[in-house]
């Protein structure tokens, strides 16, 4: 269970003179929830785009299981077991909820075009099985009742969950979640937490980018902290919480503000 699933070695990316990601190395261990955190503009989303293949790395190497995937196009990465969601939800708005999930199954639906055209029994069986599997996934994320709704008509939190269901449809080994809790209300966030824990229990490895420290601290097995495109800390949540560099770069202002507020409250007359 402790074998590395994804390894990044010296990954870098610059856009002109701007260095978005600078020689980043880390290892995602099989079966864990790994979080990448950092202040705004730290390079988290660029790093995610590099891992999913949408943005090519300028330097460095990516390895997935035992295979180098640095130059692999995004659709191939999806096929070998890397799925992702987006920070700014990118479901297919004009498709139904179920059709979105079925589209996510692209890497595992294998019937050739001629078989689809002739509507051969094998093609019908595959489609029927896919629908069943899609409904099961929707049940898992709690969208079973809305299967035939237009995806764009879902509430914000439901659209996030649909995106997760769609990413799971490819039966990934590694699921990349880009700020899954962004814009969610507290109830939705709690629901998301238990869903992600359930996915880990099923054996899925999760790599998530988060802005919200509170959300990842309770959830993650390991945290990598980025600042200005560089890794400034990497370790278990407890160690990250005490790391002076992290506090300075990330928690500094926030913690100071909270401590000040608490002190003010304690000192004030009841």
């Amino acid at each position: 269970m402790n074998s590395p699933l994804l390894t990044a070695e010296g990954i870098g990316r610059n856009f002109g003179a701007l260095i978005a990601v600078d020689a980043v190395s880390f290892t995602v261990v099989q079966g864990q929830i790994h979080a990448i955190i950092g202040p705004n503009g730290a390079g988290k989303t660029t790093l995610f785009n590099i891992i999913s293949g949408l943005v090519p790395a300028s330097q460095g190497m990516l390895r997935f299981q035992d295979r180098e995937i640095t130059g692999l196009p995004p659709f191939r990465r999806a096929t070998i077991g890397i799925s992702r969601t987006f920070q700014n939800i990118r479901i297919f708005p004009d498709m139904s909820v179920l059709e979105n999930v079925l589209t996510g199954m692209s890497p595992i639906l294998r019937q050739p075009v001629w078989s689809l055209l002739l509507r051969l029994p094998a093609a019908r069986r595959e489609e029927a099985a896919a629908k069943q599997e899609g409904l099961r996934l929707l049940e898992k994320v709690g969208l079973h009742a809305q299967a035939n709704a237009r995806a764009a008509d879902l509430s914000y939190g439901d659209q996030r969950r649909l995106e997760i269901a769609r990413a799971l449809a490819a039966r990934p080994k590694l699921l990349l979640l880009d700020e899954p809790a962004a814009g969610m209300n507290p109830t939705e966030t709690v629901g998301l937490l238990s869903l992600l824990q359930e996915l880990r229990k099923d054996g899925l490895t999760l790599l998530l980018v988060e802005h919200d420290m509170g959300f990842v601290m309770g959830l993650s097995d390991r945290i990598t902290v980025l600042n200005f495109g560089r890794v400034i800390a990497d370790g278990a949540p407890g160690a990250i919480r005490r790391d002076p560099q992290v506090i300075e770069a990330y928690l500094g202002a926030k913690v100071a503000a909270r401590l000040a507020a608490e002190a003010a409250k304690a000192g004030a007359p009841p």
Partner: protein, 279 residues
């Protein structure tokens, strides 16, 4: 009575055939537009099909079936050559490249004595008939209708709505676009050859920019949600000028006016509803 119907059919035969051929051309546009691409090369591909088909029938004396087959393969090869460098680029680049192709070919036809030059290619036997045209249209349309409700249809819709999301979902977007363009060229070539084999005469001017825009407008008017959209669009825009014959030169205004009105009030086309994408 029968004689009258016969006369009527004879008078409108070309319109009847034209409706079917234009519907096939509209479906050739659908193969590209349903992937969110824009091609203005349908007329050029149609022209290749028309000339190749005419040469195979008239100059080589081969059977009509072979002529239609050649008329599909030739533009498909040209589409592959045009597609390789342009499909990596997005949006209007394909459209611009395909306009260029149309111009190059037009000048080529004009200056080729073998193809009849500016006078056109005449004496093509009228081998196409209603059965062949509408049979092929039915075959192509049902193929499209079946495929839009399969994983392939969902992938096309996904590419049209969000290309990057489709990519990370394991969809080989480049392969889809390439296949779409090649299929589209083959169908346009078929339309061109059928057209040549009922009008018996083709000339370089028929396959220019104006025709390309007309074919695009079939798809725009009908909408690309379902393959029925472009077919209906083609029927309407082909029949309309005939129905408005009394307006003489002004009838062209109506085609433009209808497109403007549809764009304003029905931006997804006449048949712009959401269709099921599960089989």
């Amino acid at each position: 009575m029968w004689e009258m119907l016969d006369d009527l059919f004879y008078a409108y035969q070309d319109l009847f055939y034209g409706l079917g051929v234009n519907a096939i051309l509209a479906l050739s546009m659908y193969a590209v537009v349903s992937l969110g691409q824009l091609s203005l090369g349908q007329a050029a591909f149609m022209g290749i099909g028309a000339y190749v088909g005419a040469v195979v029938t008239v100059k080589l004396g081969l059977p009509f079936g072979l002529s239609l087959t050649a008329a599909m393969i030739a533009p498909a090869i040209v589409a592959a050559l045009v597609g390789i460098p342009t499909l990596r680029l997005t949006g209007v680049y394909l459209a611009i490249a395909t306009i260029g192709l149309g111009e190059v070919l037009r000048i080529l036809y004009l200056n080729s004595d073998y193809l009849g030059g500016a006078l056109g290619f005449s004496g093509i036997p009228e081998k196409a008939n209603g059965w062949i045209i509408y049979g092929l249209l039915a075959l192509i349309l049902s193929g499209f209708l079946i495929i839009t409700r399969s994983r392939v249809g969902r992938a096309c819709e996904a590419i049209r709505q969000d290309e990057d999301a489709a990519r990370v979902m394991g969809i080989n977007v480049t392969l889809y676009k390439m296949t779409g363009l090649i299929l589209s060229a083959a169908l346009a070539g078929l339309g061109g050859a059928l057209n040549a084999h009922f009008s018996s005469f083709i000339s370089p001017g028929e396959f220019g920019f104006e025709t390309a825009v007309a074919i695009l407008s079939y798809a725009v008017l009908g909408g690309v949600a379902t393959p029925l959209g472009p077919v209906i669009g083609a029927f309407l825009l082909t029949a309309l000028p005939e129905l408005l014959r009394s307006l003489h030169e002004f009838r062209g205004i109506f085609n433009g006016l209808i497109i403007v009105l549809v764009m304003i009030f029905l931006p997804k086309g006449l048949l712009g509803w959401r269709v099921r994408r599960t089989g």
